[in-house]
């Protein structure tokens, strides 16, 4: 059997004064701060990739297969300065925004229907299960038969690409809203549209925003692919068509410049639009860290 611990005297102490601590806070060195910046680290990765590309392309010496990084940048600057790339990107973005907006509204309508009736819920679940895995571009041949060559076909495909991921995310976001918040909303007499807009939408905003992002990425990919397949409408095509045209002309640096533009627009929208929304909403509200 263990014996009892020995008796020890009690004591009470005052906290140490601030002067006795010495350093409590010390600024980081500039080098530490650079290494802590995600932007700096990612820039470094890009620089290394560009250098590898340049070295391999120069070693290969065949601009028809792989132009050098500098030649691509050159083509990018030339085509931007003469306005061609901007016009093409503008054409693409206009169609894209149209499709995105229609898809967004349709998704929201579907989700509200699913929240208000059980049949609507079953409808949404069945449709998303069936149609979400279907690549939107696979519908393009059908769209061409139904709507003819032209923007309506592309928009049809875009709406399909945007609607299901947004509806799926919004719906699961609505369903995840805590019971307490729902009861609070109803306690203060909110019903119908006011309840959805004032309680469900903001409470589900992290999921909705995730859906908007996925929808945006799907739309962008689908658009470029659709333009590659049948490209131009009324003379001036978008970025996909630009890539296709320049491949036919064997202007490979311009092909790369087109791809670059697709990437740059994607990055800009992600970092300017979605990050800003994220910072001003769900991060500020403490719903995401």
């Amino acid at each position: 059997m263990a014996s009892l611990p020995p008796a020890r005297p009690e004591f009470v102490r005052d906290a140490a004064l601030a002067e006795e601590f010495g350093v409590v806070q010390q600024p980081l060195t500039p080098w530490d701060r650079i290494r802590n910046s995600a932007f700096a680290r990612k820039t470094a990765i890009l620089v290394v990739l560009a250098a590898l590309w340049q070295a391999y392309a120069m070693h290969l010496g065949n601009p028809l297969v792989l132009p050098t990084f500098t030649a691509t940048v050159h083509a990018l600057i030339d085509r931007t300065v003469n306005g061609e790339l901007l016009a093409r990107a503008g054409t693409s973005l206009k169609v894209l925004l149209e499709g995105y907006a229609i898809g967004l509204v349709a998704a929201f309508g579907f989700t509200v229907l699913a929240m208000t009736t059980r049949l609507g819920n079953d409808l949404l679940e069945t449709l998303t299960a069936m149609l979400n895995p279907l690549p939107a571009i696979a519908l393009l041949p059908l769209a061409l038969v139904w709507l003819g060559l032209g923007n309506p076909s592309i928009i049809f495909v875009l709406v399909h690409a945007v609607m299901w991921p947004i509806a799926l995310n919004t719906h699961s976001g609505f369903q995840a809203v805590s019971n307490t918040l729902r009861m609070v909303g109803r306690n203060y007499g909110l019903r119908g549209p006011a309840y959805i807009m004032k309680i469900l939408v903001p409470a589900a905003f992290p999921s909705i925003l995730a859906g908007l992002k996925v929808g945006w990425a799907f739309a962008w990919r689908t658009l470029i692919a659709a333009e590659l397949v049948f490209g131009t409408t009324s003379g001036s095509g978008g970025l996909g068509w630009f890539i296709y045209e320049n491949k036919n002309l064997l202007d490979i640096p311009a092909v790369f410049a087109g791809l670059f533009t697709v990437i740059i627009i994607g990055l800009l929208v992600e970092s300017l639009v979605f990050r800003t929304i994220e910072r001003r909403t769900i991060r500020k509200w403490g719903m995401q860290n």
Binding site: S178, T180, L181, M183, V184, G185, R186, N187, Y188, G189, L190, A194, K198, I199, P202, A203, F205, T281, K284, W285, G286, M287
Partner: protein, 263 residues
């Protein structure tokens, strides 16, 4: 006995049931009680006595299968701003609104007040719970106790007929809980609101309530209705403290005594 006064809230013969995937469960069986204006009425009982379900029924979220609930003579059929709930969960505040906006939201959504009037009323109650300095803070920057104070301010700002509190201090640490109980009593001294308070803590019931309804579990049935003056007095006849008497009544027919009491 004088003639009985008109109750503010009357619960008569209320049986509540809820369905799980496999079963239909009876949460309370023919529970009756009356709450008078300015009562601090406590529903006390162990887990499974249906006290929270009962509170939700008074809130209008659950319809009784038998009996009825009347507020000022009007039958309760749905949730409404005349019965404001304060929940246990910290996420009852809207995280996208500041402290002040949360209170204003309640006033405006329910149509009580608009614009400047709503803002002034909101600030008055935020000051009452000593959070004026945090009026423009977002909920996620506040501690648990502060969040509950905001919820109480929001409920009180509505100046509704009755405040329904569902174990509002249960998720707080013991020191904060004690402090919040004192603050609630102080607020009651100031404005004499009517509150229906649910708890599973005997010391809390004895401190907060002026009238305590004891419920026995599975299903919840009324066991006793006792008076309390907040001091946990010794009863002349039995020689027991009120809290010991309650403890005896709640646990005489069950073995689960340990761990059920905390203050």
């Amino acid at each position: 006995m004088s003639s009985s006064p008109v109750p503010l809230l009357s619960v008569s013969g209320v049986t509540l049931q809820y369905k799980t995937l496999q079963h239909r469960v009876t949460a309370t069986y023919r529970v009756s009680f009356d709450i008078l204006s300015a009562d601090r009425f406590v529903l006390l009982g162990p887990s499974g006595c249906g006290k929270s379900t009962l509170l939700k029924a008074v809130g209008g979220y659950i319809t009784p299968v038998e009996g009825e609930i009347r507020l000022k003579g009007q039958r309760v059929v749905k949730p409404g701003p005349d019965r404001v709930m304060v929940f246990q969960e910290f996420d009852q505040l809207l995280p996208w609104k500041t402290v002040r906006q949360n209170v204003v939201f309640a006033l405006e959504a329910s149509g009580r007040l608009r614009g400047k009037a709503a803002d002034e009323r909101a600030m008055a109650y935020i000051e009452k719970v000593n959070l004026a300095r945090f009026a423009d803070a977002l909920p996620h920057t506040l501690s648990g106790g502060m969040k509950q104070r905001v919820a109480i301010a929001r409920g009180m700002a509505m100046e509704s007929d009755i405040l329904l509190m569902d174990e509002p201090f249960a998720a707080l640490d013991a020191l904060t809980r004690r402090k919040m109980q004192d603050e609630l009593l102080q607020l009651w001294e100031d404005t004499r609101f009517t509150v229906l308070f649910v708890t599973h803590s005997i010391p809390e019931a004895v401190r907060i309530g002026n009238r305590i309804l004891l419920l026995s579990p599975h299903p919840g049935q009324v066991k006793a209705e006792l008076n309390s003056d907040g001091t946990d007095p010794v009863d002349m006849r039995s020689g027991q403290r009120l809290s010991d008497r309650i403890h005896g009544m709640l646990f005489d027919d069950s073995e689960a005594v340990a761990g059920a009491v905390h203050g």
